[in-house]
């Protein structure tokens, strides 16, 4: 039982109904939405409801982040489900998918159950496990897709690694199709650019760093898309970073393949120049690309070629980041800044707000079959309330995540999450 809630006089942007209007959201005792929209404006409040006037604010379905690395089990000093979920709440993320790259790897029913149980007990937002596509992420033997799915795994991925063996990939996709499982992969060639640490080009050459050519992503992606077409499996390209990859996705769809794709917010908000003089917080995989690439990817997001935006939240500590650039680990935290960084694209007029929220909530929920991403009556009241115009600066001291490796330290944002509700319960308030 939750105390009923009424959020009045706010702008409601709900991509699941293509709705953008000023109205009221009413949440019932069961933590589900009773009404959300202009038509709810003059309905009475349920008994004992907490009524809040939200004039000037905007409500969107709670964000759904499909790519989050947590660190539990195995690296709890970097992040736990508890700390990650608090960071998520701050960022308006009410549901996230936890990657299986842990120690041990989430490739077994017991481990999927461990994630679900730990998250249920400790996390303040909804957490769904992704399971390893292959045992130990080794890229050789497939895991028990059916049983893992029944246990609660919402997709299958090889985490940070690509599947190099084409035959393994074909069999996994063929088998997974029968269970309706989504296969989500990152593509990086095993040889081409294998020792690379940043985008290949002039900047890498001056820095004396080995480069990662764009073909290193495109070649295995095109191969994966062919196999997706062959097997009719549901394939999701987890993180693309260059326009040629978006083009490949478009072409595969024209051929009738069931494929979707995502992009990290970092590849939409930053470029290779941000690395400056070897700043390891900007060492990411896929790497930050050129400004031309970034601009092209923003366009591909706006036109819907790119389905979803993820934070790629990847907590790293000083032991893995305070190293020479080539020796440092990839990854940056991002749950807390996902919405704010994405709003830059809204304020810049490059991506409409509706499409942005769709890409960070409604669409990922649909791709991975999650009960989220909508404010329609009957839906779970997972809500992010934004002040679209509030200016703020991200200071290191304010970071909630256990790790502090953000590429947005001291960055200026316009727009922040001021309230986050999970099943009608307030989990964050700024």
């Amino acid at each position: 039982m939750t105390r009923p809630l009424v959020l009045k006089n706010l702008r409601i942007v709900d991509p699941s109904r293509n709705l953008d209007e000023v109205g009221t959201i009413i949440v019932g005792h069961d933590g589900r939405i009773l009404a959300a929209g202009a038509d709810a404006q003059n309905q009475g409040a349920p008994d004992g409801a907490f009524v809040k006037d939200c004039t000037g604010l905007t409500a969107v379905p709670g964000l759904v982040d499909a790519r989050v690395f947590v660190g539990e089990p195995g690296s709890e000093h970097r992040e736990t489900f508890e700390s990650a979920s608090r960071a998520a709440a701050v960022g308006g993320v009410t549901t996230f998918i936890a990657m299986p790259d842990t120690d041990p790897v989430i490739d077994d029913i017991a481990l999927v159950e461990f994630v679900k149980k730990t998250a249920r007990d400790k996390a303040v937002v909804n957490v769904h496990p992704a399971a390893a596509l292959t045992k130990g992420l080794a890229g050789e033997e497939m895991t028990e897709f059916g049983l893992l799915r029944e246990a609660g795994a919402v997709c299958f991925t090889n985490g940070r690694r690509s599947i190099h063996d084409t035959l393994v990939l074909r069999r996994a996709m063929t088998y997974a199709r029968e269970f309706g499982a989504v296969i989500s992969l990152e593509t990086r060639d095993k040889y081409l650019g294998a020792n690379g640490v940043m985008h290949e080009g002039l900047l890498a050459s001056w820095l004396g760093l080995a480069g990662i050519p764009r073909e290193s992503e495109i070649i295995p992606l095109e191969r994966d898309l062919r196999i997706a077409g062959l097997t009719k499996a549901a394939y999701h390209a987890a993180q693309i970073s260059v326009p040629e990859s978006a083009e490949a996705i478009r072409t595969a769809r024209e051929r009738g393949a069931n494929v979707t794709c995502g992009i990290s917010i970092n590849n939409l908000a930053l470029n290779e120049n941000d690395i400056g003089e070897y700043r390891t917080f900007f060492k990411l995989s896929p790497p930050l690309r050129s400004e031309d690439d970034r601009v092209a990817m923003v366009e591909a997001l706006a036109d819907g070629t790119i389905d979803i935006v993820v934070s790629s939240h990847d907590p790293q500590d000083v032991d893995t980041k305070r190293l020479p650039f080539a020796d440092a680990a990839d990854g940056a935290i991002g749950l807390e800044t996902l919405a704010a960084a994405a709003l830059r694209l809204h304020h810049g007029g490059q991506v409409p707000l509706m499409r942005l929220i769709d890409a960070m909530s409604t669409r990922p929920a649909a791709i991975f079959g999650l009960d989220a991403g909508t404010l329609k009556p009957g839906a779970k009241a997972d809500i992010a309330v934004l002040d679209l115009d509030e200016p703020w600066v991200l200071y290191k001291e304010a970071i909630v995540s256990r790790s502090k490796n953000t590429p947005f330290e001291n960055a200026r944002f316009t727009g922040r999450v001021v309230q986050t509700y999970v099943a009608g319960k307030l989990v964050h308030s700024a």
Partner: protein, 313 residues
């Protein structure tokens, strides 16, 4: 009057033409000291220099050691093996340990690009980059420039052909930056597999043939080709490499008659350079070694004497 506004020497990037000229002028004076019978001065008496080499290097390390000693500093050498310990941990941990001993200058060589810059953020003394991965090797570029300037009287408008493994060479990067800053015309001559991506935008003219690349050159600068890169990975064989890119008398004819032949050492005779050329009349390879000590004296003297004065970067 000290007019050098930098606290560290991490690379040629960031140095102005004036900065470079200043260092070369001081190095010219240091050459005189090294040629006297009494080579020791008291310029840096009481100051401590630590040479921290994560990558083995007999030549560069002894050059820095001698430079420090001739300036009267106390010099300590630390060679840290790269193999047994995790590189990064050693770098920061060792640096902090050494920093606690209050050195005045830390000379660092490391196999990772950016290592010297990272270290400079963590310690409270001056840092001199003695080579970081494939990034920069500023004192090598300065000693090359000094050698050229003393032989040719200037750096501007001379044609310098840098030949060989530019891709993996920090010496090439520092030289390209310095020579461009001083107004020289820089060419690179190499097979395409040994050139970095975007080379044409690095302020150089790109050639794949020695005959064309060396034409009318005032300076021919050869680079070392690492053994492990010769057999099939970047070039098919030593034989083929020497045939097309090894400097021999025939290829050298394309350059100006009085062109200088340079090499940062250690040389692979018969791979990138023929012995007769390395030991021939146009070779200034030994002068480069002499200028190395002078340039390093100038650099350390400048950094340390400017430490307590004026604004610095």
């Amino acid at each position: 009057m000290i007019t050098f506004p930098h606290r560290h020497l991490l690379g040629i990037k960031g140095l102005t033409e004036q900065d470079i000229t200043y260092l070369l002028d001081r190095a010219d004076e240091a050459v005189q000291i090294s040629r006297q019978r009494e080579k020791k001065t008291s310029t840096l008496r009481g100051l401590t220099q630590i040479n921290l080499f994560f990558e083995a290097s007999t030549r560069t390390q002894s050059s820095f050691e001698l430079a420090g000693k001739r300036l009267g500093a106390d010099v300590m050498n630390m060679s840290v093996g790269n193999s047994s310990v995790k590189k990064g941990e050693t770098l920061i941990d060792t640096a902090m340990t050494l920093n606690a001993m209050h050195p005045d200058v830390l000379v660092v060589r490391h196999s990772s690009a950016g290592a010297a810059a990272l270290l400079a953020q963590k310690v409270s003394c001056s840092v001199v980059n003695a080579g970081d991965g494939q990034h920069e090797h500023p004192t090598q570029a300065l000693l090359d420039a000094l050698t050229i300037r003393r032989a040719k009287g200037k750096l501007s408008r001379i044609i310098v052909a840098i030949c060989g493994d530019v891709l993996h060479s920090r010496v090439a990067r520092s030289n390209i930056l310095l020579l461009n800053q001083m107004g020289a015309r820089v060419r690179v001559v190499a097979p395409a597999t040994l050139l970095p991506s975007g080379i044409a935008d690095m302020g150089v003219e790109v050639y794949h043939s020695m005959a064309e690349g060396l034409k009318d050159a005032d300076v021919v600068m050869m680079l070392r080709l690492q053994r492990e890169r010769m057999a099939g990975a970047f070039v098919p064989s030593v034989r083929e490499y020497f045939h097309y890119y090894g400097l021999d008398a025939e290829k050298l004819k394309a350059a100006k008659e009085d062109a200088l032949v340079m090499h940062p050492g250690p040389m692979n005779r018969g791979v990138e350079i023929a012995s007769e050329i390395a030991d021939g009349p146009q070779s200034v390879i030994e002068q480069q070694v002499e200028m190395g000590v002078a340039v390093r004296m100038a650099v350390m003297e400048t950094l340390l004497l400017s430490q307590n004065q004026g604004p610095r970067l």
